[in-house]
């Protein structure tokens, strides 16, 4: 059986007296896109850093493709984009990718570099120096370098924070492509709409603990039905989609004229706030 791209069991991390992670269990399967949500200081970045070997856990264990997180084998199978990263200002995009190809022992050569630049929307920018690139362009390049060597697991920490809407669309398409290739992705982001659009599963952590998880559609609660009639908009908060024909029939029978019906669904933001704010009181 193929081991999951990422598996964390009872993972804990303490910085002195501060608990950053407290017995977190998490799994990212092959070809699964998992969104990691949580307020600032919830432990999201710590979790991602443990997975890629930058931080040592205090307790529990994490594995990447079956290998202990941080081991050479695990690092070879991981692509990572840090939230706060920088490439040397003197280097060109092509030089950055070439360096990472060598360190990742990728033999993809120029063809891989060109393909990666095209994939993140930087075709023809290989010779451009970092010093002349915008933050958004550097972020695209950062995503490109995370994909060097065909990793099994890609860890993206706020990958679209500096991107324009076009860039975000590019990244979404790229993530869908990774899923089709069987790559597991852990996406840490505050952009709930992005996660809702693309992720198969969402994990919300707060105070170092997983507070809720599930598919986006399961986490978003139904919000009732709104009906636009000659008497105005009527809101039926407890109604569901299946109730719409009956509601319309009854209104028409009662002499109302129905101009439109909208099934209201909750958003991931609602679910997030319910899980985090509700928990925090």
């Amino acid at each position: 059986m193929t081991p999951p791209a990422l598996s964390a069991r009872a993972l804990s991390k303490r910085y002195g007296k501060t608990t950053a992670l407290d017995a977190v269990d998490l799994e990212v399967g092959a070809g699964e896109l998992v969104g990691l949500l949580g307020p600032n200081g919830a432990g999201k970045s710590t979790l991602v850093k443990i997975a890629c070997g930058l931080v040592r856990p205090t307790g529990g264990e994490a594995h990447v493709g079956g290998a202990p997180a941080g081991s050479r084998e695990a690092r070879a199978a991981t692509g990572y984009l840090a939230e706060l990263f920088r490439f040397p200002a003197w280097a060109s995009a092509d030089e950055v990718l070439k360096l990472h190809q060598r360190l990742a022992r990728s033999d993809g050569g120029a063809a891989e570099r060109e393909a990666l630049l095209a994939r993140v929307g930087l075709s023809g920018e290989g010779g451009r120096r970092m010093a002349t690139m915008s933050k958004g362009m550097q972020q695209r390049l950062g995503i490109g370098q995370a994909l060097i060597g065909d990793p099994r697991l890609v860890l993206l920490d706020e990958p679209t924070s500096a991107l324009d809407p076009g860039g975000r669309r590019t990244v979404r398409d790229l993530l869908v492509g990774l899923r089709e290739q069987g790559v597991g992705v852990l996406l840490n982001s505050h952009l709930l709409s992005e996660i809702e659009l693309v992720c198969d599963r969402v994990v919300i952590i707060d105070g170092g603990r997983v507070v809720t998880e599930g598919r986006p559609e399961d986490l978003t609660a139904p919000g009732g039905v709104e009906v636009e009639t000659s008497a105005g908009v009527r809101r039926l908060p407890d109604a569901r989609r299946e109730d719409v024909p009956r509601i319309v029939r009854e209104l028409v029978a009662a002499g109302d004229e129905v101009y439109g019906v909208r099934v209201v669904t909750g958003t991931l933001e609602d679910a997030y706030l319910a899980a985090v704010v509700g928990r925090d009181g």
């Binding site: 850093k49 930058l54 050479r72 690092r75 840090a82 003197w90 280097a91 360096l99 060598r102």
Partner: protein
């Protein structure tokens, strides 16, 4: 090894692209120009002097000038070593430059080894080139040939490698500024230890000599430097030899040959400590 060479190449490219090496080359050319001017003037003044003094003035002048050149080469080499490495770990991590490299299969120890290789190659080459250029100038200006060129040059080279190792260790635990200050203070303490030894020898104070000797083993660059100074002027005899040996650019004493092995082992131990500290560091 190929990973370490990749990192070393990356560090060297950085030094070239950021024009570090260009600035160093230009300013070193200025120093050597001034040194040449001073050397020719000094030897010319000897030829014009009619004073009848019973010392070999040519050897005294040549030995002193080359001793000065050796000190300047060491000082500039240390400056270069510190600035090439002072932010290698913590500084680069704080700027977000290190994390993308550390998550690759290349190990943290290899990363450090690469930085050591690059900085050592630059600094060791630099001090040897500056010292040998000064020796050529001194030879041309006053026909002065030092007792040894190899021992001082090799001592300078190994000395700056020990400083590179210290700076890398500091970079794993200290902030950039704190590390720079710390390494320069270690350097100054070592030099002060050497001067104490010279004073102790001149005044025949055994305690000072012992303190200097202990300091030389604690910070071996100083012992290598003193050893190089001593080798530089070992053949100068008579009053000139005494004056050079007791002056600021004369080696206080000939240290044990074991200092070479000790300096290599010491650097390896410091690098091992740095690797351990780096390995335990959360990024």
């Amino acid at each position: 090894m190929s990973d370490a060479l990749t990192i070393a190449g990356y560090a060297l490219r950085e030094a070239v692209r950021r024009r570090v090496l260009l600035v160093v080359a230009l300013l070193t050319a200025v120093f050597l120009g001034l040194f040449a001017l001073g050397a020719f003037e000094a030897f010319d003044s000897l030829e014009q002097s009619s004073a009848d003094v019973p010392i070999d003035e040519q050897a005294l002048t040549g030995g002193t000038l080359l001793g000065l050149a050796m000190f300047v080469a060491l000082f500039l080499g240390v400056v270069l070593a510190v600035f090439l490495t002072l932010d290698a770990v913590r500084g680069d991590a704080e700027r977000g430059l290190l994390q993308p490299l550390v998550v690759r299969p290349v190990g943290r120890t290899t990363l450090l080894a690469g930085r050591l290789l690059a900085a050592s190659a630059v600094c060791a080459s630099y001090v040897v080139i500056v010292f040998l250029a000064a020796a050529v100038i001194t030879q041309a200006a006053g026909d002065f040939t030092p007792s040894s060129l190899f021992v001082p040059a090799a001592g300078l080279a190994l000395g700056v490698v020990t400083v590179v190792a210290v700076s890398l260790l500091g970079s794993t635990v200290l902030s950039t500024t704190a590390n720079g200050i710390a390494v320069f203070m270690v350097f100054a303490t070592g030099l002060a230890g050497g001067l104490l030894g010279q004073i102790g020898e001149g005044l025949q104070v055994e305690a000072l000599e012992q303190a200097s000797s202990i300091m030389s083993w604690i910070v071996p660059f100083e012992a290598l430097y003193q050893n190089g100074l001593h080798a530089l002027t070992a053949d100068i005899g008579g009053a000139a030899g005494v004056i050079v040996q007791l002056g600021p650019f004369g080696g206080a004493s000939d240290v044990s040959a074991g200092i070479w092995l000790w300096a290599v082992a010491w650097s390896a131990a410091v690098l091992a400590l740095a690797a351990l500290a780096f390995k335990r560091r959360d990024l």
